[in-house]
C-alpha cells in the first residue's frame, strides 16, 4: 500500500516535471523567435573583441570645461534628461589659505552644475583669492578589477576581452548593486529602462572604427583614445604615453583603472 502510494506520487512528480519542461522549452523557443525579430544584432562584421585593447587617456592640462563632450555623450547614447551622466566635467577651485591660517591651501570647492553640460558659472571667489582652478573630465574608469562586475549577481555587467566594461541591457535586473559598488559614481539607474547604465566607450562607434563621441567632439584634445594592440606610427595615444607620467583615480582601492590622467591634483577623487 505504502509503496504503491509512493510510486504513484513519484510518477506524478515525473509527469509534472516533463510537462513543466515542455512548457519551458516552448516558451523559450517563442522567446528566441521574438528576440530574433525585434532585436537587430547588426554587430559590425569582422570585429573581434579579443584583438583589441582600448585605452582612454585624459590630458587634464588641456580640458577647457566647454561641456561639449557631456552634451555629445548624452546625445550619442540617448541618455535621459536629469542627473544621469555617462561622462561629466568637474570644476575644482582651490582657494588661497585664509590669512593667518597654517594650512598650505584652502578647502577645495568642487562643482559640476548639470554635469558641466552647459558650461560653468562665474566662480564663487574673486580671481585673486584662487590658488588653482581646473576642470576634470570624468567617465567610467574601465577598471581592470572592476568592483561593479564583481558584485553583479547575474553576470549582466562584465569586462569584455577588449577592456570595455559593459552592461547587458537585456539581462540586467536593476538591483543597483553595481551602482553602489562603483567608487567613481560612474553608473546610474536609467529611469526609463530601469537598468544600470554607464559609459560604454561608445562601443557602437569604436567597433565601427569611429572614435567615442566625447573624443570626437573634444575641441582641446583633452581626451586621447586608442587601441594599444593596433598603434600606428603617429598615434596620439603613443605620443601621450611617451610624454606624460600618468595617474589614476582612487588607486588605493586596487581597481586598476584603464582611464589614465595626466596633470591631476591631489584633491581629485
Amino acid at each position: 500500500m505504502k509503496t504503491q502510494f509512493s510510486r504513484r506520487s513519484s510518477l506524478l512528480r515525473l509527469g509534472g516535471a516533463i510537462a513543466g519542461l515542455l512548457t519551458i522549452s516552448a516558451v523559450r523557443t517563442a522567446k528566441a523567435v521574438v528576440q530574433k525579430v525585434f532585436v537587430s544584432t547588426s554587430a559590425p562584421k569582422g570585429y573581434d573583441p579579443t584583438k583589441h585593447k582600448w585605452l582612454m587617456c585624459i590630458d587634464d592640462n588641456k580640458c577647457i570645461g566647454c561641456g561639449l563632450c557631456v552634451e555629445a555623450c548624452k546625445r550619442e547614447n540617448g541618455v535621459p534628461e536629469g542627473p544621469y551622466f555617462r561622462t561629466w566635467i568637474e570644476r575644482y577651485i582651490i582657494p588661497k589659505p585664509k590669512p593667518g591660517s597654517d594650512r598650505t591651501r584652502g578647502e577645495a570647492l568642487v562643482d559640476s552644475p548639470n554635469g558641466g553640460m552647459h558650461g560653468f558659472p562665474e566662480p564663487p571667489l574673486p580671481k585673486d583669492q584662487i590658488e588653482h582652478a581646473f576642470f576634470v573630465p570624468k567617465l567610467c574608469n574601465l577598471c581592470e578589477n572592476p568592483p561593479c562586475v564583481q558584485v553583479c549577481p547575474v553576470g549582466a555587467t562584465f569586462r569584455a576581452p577588449d577592456g570595455a566594461v559593459l552592461i547587458d541591457p537585456k539581462y540586467c535586473i536593476g538591483c543597483g548593486f553595481c551602482i553602489q559598488a562603483c567608487p567613481y559614481g560612474s553608473r546610474f539607474l536609467n529611469p526609463v529602462t530601469k537598468t544600470a547604465e554607464k559609459c560604454t566607450l561608445c562601443y557602437h562607434r569604436i567597433t565601427r572604427g569611429l572614435k567615442p563621441a566625447c573624443v570626437e567632439i573634444c575641441p582641446a584634445e583633452a581626451r586621447i583614445f586608442g587601441d594599444l594592440n593596433n598603434l600606428h606610427a603617429d598615434d596620439p595615444l603613443q605620443k601621450f604615453y611617451e610624454k606624460n607620467r600618468v595617474q589614476v583615480l582612487k588607486p588605493y582601492l586596487g581597481t586598476e583603472p584603464r582611464v589614465l590622467y595626466a596633470g591631476l591634483d591631489k584633491e581629485v577623487r
Binding site: L109, S112, N114, G155, A181, R269
Partner: protein
C-alpha cells in the same frame, strides 16, 4: 567646509550640500526603505533560530515553552525575507537569473543559495522532524482542510514507532548544530553585502558582518519575547516566568556583546579618521542624528541595557507583573532600535557622496515602488503568516506529543 561649498551648488540642487557626483544627485535613494527592511527581516530569522537552538543544542530546558514559537517565527519571517529585494528590482521578472546564472563573486547571488539552503535544508527540515510525530497524530483526529494539510505534511510517512521518533530527535539535534553556523552565514552574508563595498567608507568594514549577526541575535530574541508575551496575552494564559526570565538574561548578554562591538566600530572609525571622516561626521550630526543617537543608541541599546541589567541584579525583588512589563518594553524597544540600526547602515551609506565632499537629502515617497507603504506591508506580512502558522501548528486544541528527554536521544 560644507557651508562654503553650498554657495555654489545651492541654486541648482537644493537638496544637496557640498559636492556630490552628478549621478548621485537623484531625488530618491537608490536603495530605499525596502532595503532597510530586508536585513531587518533576515536578522530576525537568524536571531529567532539561534534563540530556538539554545533549547536543542545547549539544552536550556527553561526555554522549551518558546521553542516551537521561535522556530515558526523564524519560518514566517524567512518566507518574506526575499520579498523586499524582489520588489525593489528594476526588472523583477528577470529575478530567476540570480538562480540560473549566479555570479559567484557577487554576495547577492550567493545569498540566493544561502537563503535556499537555510530555508530548505535547515529550517523546514528541523521543523518537519520536530512536528512529524504530531502531524501523524493530528491527521488522525482532524478532518476537512486542516486534516488534509496535516496529512500532506506527513509526506506519507506514518511511522511513529519509538525507534523512528528517536531518529527524528537525533536528526533535529544534528540540524540544530548545522543550523547555528547556517544562521550566522545567512545573516553574516547580509552584512557582507554591505561590508564588501569598498567604495563606500560607511559600509566597507570587516566588522559589518559581525555587527549584523550580533544585532540579529539581539533582535531575534527580542522578537521571541515580544511574540511570546503577545501570544499568551491573546490566549489569556499565564506567562511562564522562568522562561521569560531566561530569555531576558540571554537578551541582556547578547545586547552587551552587540553594544561593545558596535562601540568598537565607532571608536575605530573615530581614531583612524581616514579619508572622508569629515563627511561622515557631518552625516552623523545632521542626517542620522535622530535614528542613530536617539533610535539606535538611546532607545535600542542604553535603555534596554539599563532595564534588563537591573533585572539581572534585582530579579527576586521585582514583582512579576512589573518584570513582565519591563522585559516586554525592552523587547519592543530593541526591535525598534535594531530597525533604526538597519536604517542607519543602509541609508547612512547613501546620505553622503562617494566624492566624500557632500551630503544628500532625499524625499522619501509614501506610495510607489520604493515607498514606505510597501515596506510597511512587507513588515506586517510575516506577522500575518505567523498567525496562520500558530493557528495550524500551535493550536490549543491539538496537544503536541510528549518529547523524549534530549539526553536520551543524543547518547
Amino acid at each position: 567646509m560644507i557651508t562654503e561649498v553650498t554657495n555654489i551648488v545651492v541654486e541648482v540642487l537644493p537638496q544637496f550640500e557640498g559636492y556630490v557626483f552628478p549621478n548621485e544627485a537623484i531625488a530618491q535613494p537608490l536603495w530605499s526603505t525596502l532595503i532597510v527592511v530586508y536585513p531587518y527581516i533576515t536578522g530576525l530569522v537568524a536571531g529567532a533560530f539561534i534563540m530556538a537552538s539554545l533549547v536543542r543544542v545547549f539544552n536550556v530546558k527553561a526555554l522549551e515553552p518558546v521553542y516551537r514559537l521561535s522556530m515558526l517565527t523564524a519560518l514566517a519571517f524567512l518566507l518574506c525575507a526575499t520579498l523586499p529585494l524582489l520588489c525593489h528590482l528594476g526588472h523583477p521578472e528577470r529575478c530567476y537569473e540570480i538562480m540560473m546564472t549566479p555570479h559567484m563573486t557577487s554576495p547577492m547571488a550567493i545569498f540566493g543559495f544561502v537563503y535556499a539552503w537555510y530555508l530548505m535544508a535547515v529550517l523546514l527540515l528541523e521543523l518537519w522532524f520536530d512536528f512529524r510525530q504530531d502531524f501523524v497524530k493530528w491527521s488522525k483526529v482532524t478532518s476537512g482542510f486542516r486534516g488534509i494539510i496535516y496529512r500532506a505534511l506527513t509526506l506519507g510517512v506514518t511511522d511513529v514507532s519509538e525507534q523512528s521518533v528517536r531518529l527524528d530527535m537525533k536528526m533535529e539535534w544534528i540540524l540544530s548544530i548545522v543550523g547555528i553556523p547556517s544562521a550566522f552565514l545567512l545573516h553574516g552574508y547580509v552584512g557582507f553585502i554591505f561590508g564588501s563595498i569598498k567604495a563606500n567608507p560607511w559600509w566597507g568594514n570587516v566588522l559589518m558582518p559581525i555587527m549584523f549577526i550580533l544585532s540579529a541575535i539581539v533582535s531575534g530574541i527580542a522578537l521571541c519575547v515580544f511574540n511570546y508575551i503577545v501570544l499568551t496575552w491573546i490566549r489569556r494564559k499565564t506567562v511562564d516566568m522562568r522562561c521569560l526570565d531566561t530569555m531576558a538574561m540571554f537578551l541582556f548578554y547578547a545586547l552587551v556583546v552587540d553594544a561593545v562591538i558596535e562601540g568598537l566600530d565607532v571608536f575605530h572609525r573615530g581614531y583612524a579618521a581616514e579619508e572622508g571622516f569629515a563627511v561622515l561626521q557631518t552625516m552623523i550630526r545632521e542626517k542620522l542624528f535622530y535614528t542613530l543617537n536617539i533610535g539606535q543608541v538611546g532607545i535600542g541599546t542604553l535603555l534596554p541595557l539599563l532595564m534588563l541589567g537591573s533585572l539581572q541584579l534585582l530579579r527576586r525583588r521585582v514583582p512579576e507583573a512589573i518584570r513582565r512589563t519591563m522585559i516586554f518594553c525592552s523587547g519592543a524597544m530593541i526591535l525598534l532600535g535594531v530597525l533604526a540600526m538597519r536604517w542607519n547602515v543602509v541609508m547612512g551609506g547613501q546620505f553622503f557622496s562617494k566624492s566624500l565632499r557632500g551630503v544628500m537629502s532625499y524625499k522619501m515617497e509614501f506610495a510607489g515602488q520604493e515607498g514606505w507603504l510597501i515596506s510597511a506591508v512587507i513588515l506586517c506580512l510575516p506577522f500575518i503568516i505567523l498567525t496562520v502558522l500558530v493557528k495550524l501548528f500551535l493550536s490549543e486544541q491539538l496537544q503536541p506529543s510528549e518529547h523524549e528527554p534530549q539526553n536520551k536521544s543524543t547518547t
